[in-house]
Symmetry: C2
Subunit: 198 residues, 2 copies
């Protein structure tokens, strides 16, 4: 199982945003939408073993499961529509309970630390960081969560929580990438058994 | 120098499309927009040695140069706005002449074969194809053009033109990726000197 947790610092936690202004009025939700497509979609296919968690302002988490998601397309607007419909269901989510807003798309009132704690129960938690060790030194785990931030760096308290929860900090390469690009590279790394099986 | 040529089969060649319906009314222009961002943008940076050519319906080519492009952001809408403004200038493009529509964004009445012929003058032309040899067997060239298709496979005549022009056909890995994902992986391959320098 592959999981990606992406921290959205400016993204909305309520559904009152326009699908036509994702990069502006919707707090760079475009970044998170591209992360969902990068994590779950291949050419004419879905990664059934993958999931992506969007942690919005440390308050609400929207979760996409590759195994069951429907109506997902790679364009930002389609993904944002699924996020918006999940946020419409957020009021029904009580405590850490997940509500399935549409097939394979879930919402919960979960902050970053709680998301990390869930991930830690399920396998290795890996921080992607330019100062980490090379990803090629990572022994490929059966189950793994990669943690990334949106267009902002993690805040100090978020970084501290991640340092406490992460089993490893790895770098993917010499170039600092956008979060969605980093997800593509991480998927490619796993697809190729660490670049051994091209 | 890295160049990416992306063939857009359904994309518009005139500027009369809505930025709010890229995946529908604008002939999956969203796919091509993600390719531009994947080719040219890093986190808080631009790949100055890269360019991307969008070949639209074998009739018009819009070219983005990383070295000089301005006002480029990774969201689909921003890229599509630059494409639209380039298409507004297409009438001024005569023959194979490029018109600079906005800084670093050019347009010409250039079809796929002409784009390939230009690329061939500048270094290796590489076809990305699932049945190609492993990319790791490619000796890294000083200058290279990768050729990709949008959400459709190349048509028979396009494939024949590419077969004639390409110096190599390579595969990136075992998973069929979207065009923008393949560009991210190709950039990563080059960034890391063929996965040797993570």
């Amino acid at each position: 199982m592959r999981r990606f947790i992406v921290v959205g610092h400016d993204a909305p936690t309520t559904p009152d945003f326009s699908l036509s202004d994702l990069a502006g009025g919707a707090g760079r939700l475009d970044v998170l939408c591209r992360c969902v497509a990068a994590a779950l979609l291949t050419s004419h296919g879905i990664r059934e073993d993958a999931s992506v968690w969007l942690v919005l302002r440390d308050a609400v988490t929207v979760r996409f499961e590759g195994a069951t998601v429907r109506n997902l397309a790679p364009d930002e607007r389609t993904v944002a529509g699924l996020v918006r419909s999940a946020l419409e269901s957020a009021d029904r989510a009580v405590g850490a309970m997940w509500v399935e807003a549409s097939p394979g798309v879930f919402v919960a009132k979960l902050g970053f630390e709680s998301a990390l704690a869930s991930a830690a129960e399920d396998g290795l938690v890996v921080q992607l960081h330019e100062d980490g060790t090379a990803v090629t030194e990572l022994e490929e785990p059966a189950s793994c969560t990669f943690v990334l931030s949106d267009h902002h760096d993690l805040a100090a308290d978020e970084q501290a929580a991640l340092d406490a929860a992460a089993d490893a900090a790895v770098r993917l390469g010499p170039t600092r990438l956008h979060a969605d690009q980093a997800i593509v590279v991480a998927n490619h790394f796993l697809d190729t058994d660490g670049y051994a099986a091209i």
